[in-house]
Symmetry: C2
Subunit: 597 residues, 2 copies
């Protein structure tokens, strides 16, 4: 088996860290208890391990291709997408009103991870469709919702996000695509969009493009951008795909990774104008787009965890099989499987602990998302919203940056074989690199963390998280086991560093913006590291308590303690260096004269 | 221009850090003063910028290909290799007796960097030839030397290193290739070698394979391995290539990077036996091979610096050109080139300071190599040998690991464009990944650092380096400028961490080998970081002194101070975290049960 879903760890995170029991008490999620979670995850594992994982390497060797405006996906993708839809996987987290299963994100997040471990290139299609569904649920008219959502949620049609233009990447203020009102409620769209994931493909009979464009006379900058729905095929009166719309794929990109996922250049309106409908109100497009984007950012964070998990599994397998050199401690008489060598263990433990730490962080964040939306209590909704929104840049930024470290080590464990494409380890290294870039680069996540998530509330949410960490520290102190003590030392130092940096950001954000933004990505990495470490600290406490009581799966729990301790001693310890760089090194970031580079 | 050689920085490193003046006083290097260095570097820059750099992207798009046992290299490579030989570049550091130029490594190292910045795939051919030349110079018979060296040093014929077999990578004890004495002084060689760089190609009329093999009855393990010279074409009586030898390329690998460099599977003896000559004595093959390998390891370190430099230059160019978003400090009214954004500056400074730090370390090490070989004073030879040998794993290990960080940032600076292969930034990311693997993985370098370079002399060389660093610290304290103070703080903390780890390694290497080797790579990264930082500290002092006197190139020297300070505050500060992980986290590396992975 090329991939085995870590169902046990996912359920542990849900149950012990994200308090699935409480999620299942929220209105609407009554059926989403442990039993449901287990059943869904097992079914999901079966599909992803059996159908999508085997197509992953194939997609890299035999990627999507373009000819005469049409894109042909990797053999097997179309059939797999059919099965994906029929299995109800596209609708997992979407409302039952439109045919979805209405499961909480706490469970859905694990399914997203599996999907992306199995096949990140494939997974991008449903990921973008999810985003389009979210935007329509938020801002679409009832008629638009009735027309499009059932087909998208069932996995029949797919969706896209059309933001980027050659001159407008991170800076959407520069969007130039035009929308001309036709007087009949429709608009004609003209412009070029690039980097459109699954902007064209052969897996579905229709593609629903959501497109940012400007109506003539709109304000400059981001306040003059509207969101339009432009279907590849306009609909007949009966809702079936009819006339081809004037939105054409003129090329797809030749990329470092995620090669099976077609990245399209879309030309709107070269033959008279693409017909689109406005979504919501004019000039509020960016606001709606952010809804899609926030969901997508969280999902991209899960992609980081997913690729890391798969890279880890492959490296473990190789380290067990590859025999090379005698163990340094002389414990075996001859050459041994390389998993016996301490440095290979260090690499595998780094991969494992980063992956488990980020998974724990992401699933805990998902539970806050569920409470934010479903809690009957307004205060709880507000608190959970603040927490979740703080987590989004960490889940996106930290989990994807860590996936670069993990997939690098994944290649490294394989030695020379890792550099050979047939081995497959290098694919993860290549695939992962997009994750720190799309849906907002790590720097864009860090801007969000500094500006909207830290400065705006004067560091209140950040400090509230630090307080919660202190509660965990107190429990570690009370436990007093060697592992708990090691964790306590690293976590309290990490938390203190985090608080120092939050204070620095709040104090200087307005007066010394260059100094604060010079440390924005390091701050994000520090915060992600500490929050992931905190969740592993909680996991350690749960595991030790269960072991003490003789409950649960001893091997799993013992491994959790060992993994958490490794994270504390090797990953959390990075926090103090980052603190020093941010607080003391801000000026040297911008000291070099521009013409001296 | 796609690449501009950093001649100014190279000359600064040679003159101010590596004391080129002293090198030029060594017997044999009398002509190798600043004037020579400058002339050689400028000529070298012209060739690499003009001829090889433009072929780099082409080699990636249009790599070496195999058909019916023959390998065709990228169009342009053959002609470029002819120019390379005619320019005398292959013979740069080799003895004048055999047609070389006999330049010191202090100058040669910079030329190697340029060659690899321009085209790392191309550079591998001369790099391997250099290794074969070194081995023949050390262990070849006078006749072998007369027969082969002039042709190799002139760049007419190329050389290879045949170590790896499918079951024998890092563990050469497992080599199985056989050599059967024919009674006429020759041997017949039988076996399969993999990962043979430029094992077959069309750029030269002959290829001199150096091959590790076992003579029947030889001891088991590494003590039974001999080194053989197996030319692709056996020589006619007049020394010209004659009969085709039974050494055939059966395939080349499909790799993540360095695609233009053919990585061959060579089959020896499938048609009766490849005829080879013994080099040196039987069963001493590994010893000779290590001579090649040590030269090659240093050169691979230079490859790391080289790829990092090119990635940096490309990122700077993009950051100047790409306009996106307003500066956070409001210093410009509209969207600005992204080099104005603090996080882009942080990325560029990280790339720059790592590259300059490693270059300073490598060129200083090269001067020690020159003194080790050419000094008339036995004590000086011995001291310089100890220093140089300590440096080799750092130059190889740290410079290549840092090149992964730099080339990742190089892609990141480009945003989405970085992920598109046409941009070219991704090639460096892919190319760099082999550098931490071949000629000994980072773990193998770290084993060398721990075992041969630290434990064997009880930490004496390491401590001597720490003492030298303290001398620099004293000078920083005396200077007292803000930059010197910042450097002093980081360097003294880094040096203290280094000493702590050396003590730990020496104290526990024999009794707790797992604990020590669990921290071997972190120790290497710490040592490399501190030594590179130390060289930048020396550079800072020189630059500030010259600035104070109104001497030298103000812009260059000011930039050097800024770069060194950035390194101190953002890179050297990593040392304390690494120290903690090594000293306190050793047990958690190997705590997880083998079957729990």
């Amino acid at each position: 088996m090329s991939y085995v879903a870590p169902v046990k760890d996912m359920l542990f995170c849900m149950q012990e860290l994200a308090d699935l029991e409480s999620v299942a008490k929220l209105p609407g999620f009554e059926d989403a208890g442990l039993e449901t979670a287990q059943a869904v995850l097992e079914e999901c594992a079966k599909f992803n391990e059996g159908v999508l994982a085997p197509l992953n390497f194939e997609g890299d060797k035999n990627p999507s291709s373009w000819k005469d405006g049409k894109v042909t996906t990797t053999p097997g993708f179309k059939e797999a997408f059919k099965q994906f839809g029929e299995g109800g996987w596209q609708g997992l987290q979407h409302p039952a009103d439109f045919g979805g299963q209405g499961l909480p994100k706490t469970i859905g997040a694990a399914c997203i991870e599996m999907l992306n471990s199995a096949n990140v290139s494939f997974a991008l299609c449903p990921l973008l469709t999810d985003g389009a569904i979210e935007a329509l649920l938020t801002a679409g008219s009832p008629e638009q919702q009735q027309t499009y959502l059932p087909k998208m949620i069932s996995g029949e049609w797919t969706g896209t996000m059309n933001l980027t233009e050659p001159q407008a990447g991170s800076d959407l203020a520069l969007v130039r695509t035009r929308a001309e009102p036709q007087g009949d409620g429709t608009y004609k769209i003209f412009g070029t969009k690039i980097f459109i994931t699954y902007g064209e493909h052969d897996m579905a009979p229709n593609i629903i493009h959501l497109v940012l464009a400007r109506v003539a006379g709109a304000p400059e900058g981001v306040k003059g951008i509207s969101l339009f729905l432009v279907p590849k095929f306009r609909l007949n009166a009966d809702g079936s795909p009819g006339e081809r719309n004037d939105a054409h794929c003129v090329s797809i990109e030749h990329k470092l990774g995620i090669k099976a996922s077609p990245t399209a250049v879309l030309q709107f309106g070269d033959h008279g104008g693409a017909i689109g409908e406005l979504i919501g109100e004019e000039n509020r497009g960016l606001e709606y787009m952010f809804i899609m984007m926030n969901a997508a950012r969280y999902a991209v964070g899960m992609q980081g965890i997913a690729v890391a998990e798969r890279s880890y599994q492959k490296a473990v397998q190789y380290a067990r099989d590859r025999v090379q050199s005698r163990p340094v401690d002389g414990s075996l008489p001859g050459s041994a499987p390389i998993i016996h060598h301490p440095d290979v263990r260090r690499m595998l433990m780094t991969m494992r602990s980063l992956t488990e730490g980020c998974r724990a962080m992401a699933i805990t964040a998902a539970a806050a998302h569920d409470a934010q939306h479903a809690s009957p209590d307004a205060d709880a909704r507000k608190q959970n919203q603040a927490f979740y929104e703080f987590m989004v840049p960490l889940v996106k930024g930290y989990s994807t940056e860590m996936s670069l470290e993990v997939t690098d080590l994944g290649v490294q464990v394989h030695g020379g074989m890792g550099f050979i494409e047939e081995t497959g380890a290098a694919q993860y290294y290549r695939d992962a690199k997009i994750l720190t870039i799309y849906e907002g680069t790590t720097a864009i996540q860090a801007n969000d963390l500094v500006g909207r998530k830290t400065m705006r509330d004067g560091g209140q949410t950040a400090k509230a998280i630090a307080k919660q960490i202190e509660v965990t520290e107190a429990a570690l102190a009370k436990s007093g086991t060697p592992a708990a003590q090691a964790m306590l030392k690293a976590l309290s130092a990490g938390r203190a560093a985090f608080v120092d940096v939050v204070d620095f950001v709040v104090a200087n954000g307005k007066t010394k913006p260059n100094a604060v933004f010079a440390g924005s990505v390091p701050y994000l990495m520090l915060a992600g590291n500490v929050v992931a470490g905190w969740q592993l600290a909680r996991a350690l406490l749960v595991a030790e308590a269960q072991l003490a009581k003789g409950e649960g799966d001893t091997a799993f729990l013992t491994a959790k303690v060992a993994t958490a301790r490794f994270y504390a001693e090797h990953i959390l310890t990075r926090a103090s260096s980052v603190r020093a760089a941010i607080l003391e090194g801000a000026d040297s970031v911008t000291a070099l004269a521009l013409d001296a580079f």
